[in-house]
């Protein structure tokens, strides 16, 4: 029973690192990803443009099998690293 939260936290950290690696491939040139805090808005901070959000959607579909046709795309859920990780925790079949 005690392994659950620890394992969950480790999984979330792994997914966070994976997400940051992906964001590095779609970020605007000249922006510093390392200074971004998990709760900062990705578009509002200027790290990515609003179009790159679509690439995040495709990434989440392909990597975690999230079915956006069923759960819908919500811009508030894609606004920051932490909100995206919450979305993955909730919707990804492998993460449940």
């Amino acid at each position: 029973m005690t392994a659950g939260p620890v394992s969950g936290a480790a999984d979330r950290e792994r997914r966070r690192e994976d997400l940051l690696r992906f964001l590095a491939t779609i970020q605007r040139p000249g922006r510093v990803l390392a200074t971004l805090e998990d709760d900062n808005g990705l578009v509002a901070s200027g790290l990515i443009d609003s179009l790159a959000v679509l690439q995040i959607v495709v990434h989440l579909e392909e990597t975690y099998g999230i079915d956006f046709a069923a759960c819908g795309i919500e811009s508030e859920e894609l606004r920051s690293v932490s909100s995206i990780l919450d979305l993955v925790d909730r919707e990804a079949p492998a993460a449940r």
Binding site: T25, I26, Q27, P29, G30, V43, A44, S45, G46, D49, S50, L51, A52, L54, Q55, V57, V58, E61, F68, A69, G72, I73, E74, S75, E76, E77
Partner: protein
Amino acid sequence: MIGRAPAASARSGATFTVRDVLRALPQFHEHHAVVAWWQARTGTLFAHFTPERRRMLLSVGGLGVLAGMVARALRKADGAGASVWPAVTVFVVVLAALYGCYLAAERFKSLPSVVQRRPQVALHLGFWGMLAVVWMLPRDGGAWAAAPVAMAMLLPFYLWRCGYLLKSGQRGRAAGTRFVDHLFYLSPVYGGTDTPVGKGFDHLVRHEAHSGEALARAQLAGVKLLLLALLWRIAEQVLAGVVYGDPKSPVTRLVGGYGAHLPRLEHLLAEQPHVPVLVAWGSLYLELVREVLDHAARGHVIVGMLRLLGFNVFRNTYKPLLAESVVDFWNRYYYYFKELLVDFFFYPTFARRFRRWPRMRIVTATFAAAFLGNMYYHSLAQDQLLLRGALWPALAVLRSRTFYCFLLAVGISVSMLREQRRRGTASAPGGLRRAGRIACVWTFFAIIHIWNVGGTASFARRTRFFASLFGLA
């Protein structure tokens, strides 16, 4: 990015040059000393206005707004202006409909499964059902017959706001909230059109000030926007007086009528006077500038008010004339309308259609938003025709706009695909190249605006004017 500027760097103990001051001036609302000064002077006054109390007060104001809208709709609906009881009935029924929508969002899980799957479709079917009832009513039934007509006239204003409320419900975020947590944006005292500026509950709450310092920052950002709105209105008057020689502008009198007297685009389209091609192009570009100024001023007042009330949301318009791509302009020009189209048309289509064909997926979703969604939104604004059930004439009125929306969707699709292709690479450097990119964006939007600008000019006239720009008519 809309409305967020980097925080002004705080300097302590250093001497300020005029250049420093000029650089820091536009970001005065971010400066810690200014925030502290504002907080010291207003903090005591606003200490009692917690977010909950602010929402409560705004909701009470919202009831007043609803009463005013009902009175106007009844006057427009013909025949009920003098009667109190139809007005009270419409007020109560619209408020009950908003409350019903809140209950549906708050208890979303208990709704029928078909509504849970497609809440927006259910909402719009309800709207069209209401319209169908109005079509069946006798037209000359006096004051009481005007009541359902007035209700149907009011609905487009609430439709998209209720749409955002149902989206909150779908995500489980409306559970446990009160009606006053929603009434303040369903019936906003800060004004607006059918497009909900500030979006809905989720977005507003995320940007709501919860501390004295956050409130001070939001209010200063609001003051800045209201000052900008004033500045753009003055610029508009200067344009009207110096360029157009508009007799209504005080600037025309100031310059003694010695303006350039360039014709407005609307005038060129309506009367088709013979003017040199360069003058026609000048009118075209200046109309774009005038439109952006007007639009920015209106949006800044609404967002400025929202910020003064503690919601530090993005601007509606953020330097669109500096955009270097069509999609960037569209994102900066009318942010909340773009968000409405994205939330209710683009994302649902993108999530469901052509998932294996990335380009087709983007183009289809873009057309669903910029073309179909845009047309649907504006067809709802043709309330007099819709209320008579004259669907075909309502669409015919929008013929020029249909073409505008088609060109807009094509332009945004191409721009999005280009941006996707060159992601991660910086734009070609150099001031001239940047100016070239900006000029291309200006030209695209100035040209498609020919089929969007107000006035009575027919589609054929607008198209002839377009041809005349290239010496073809």
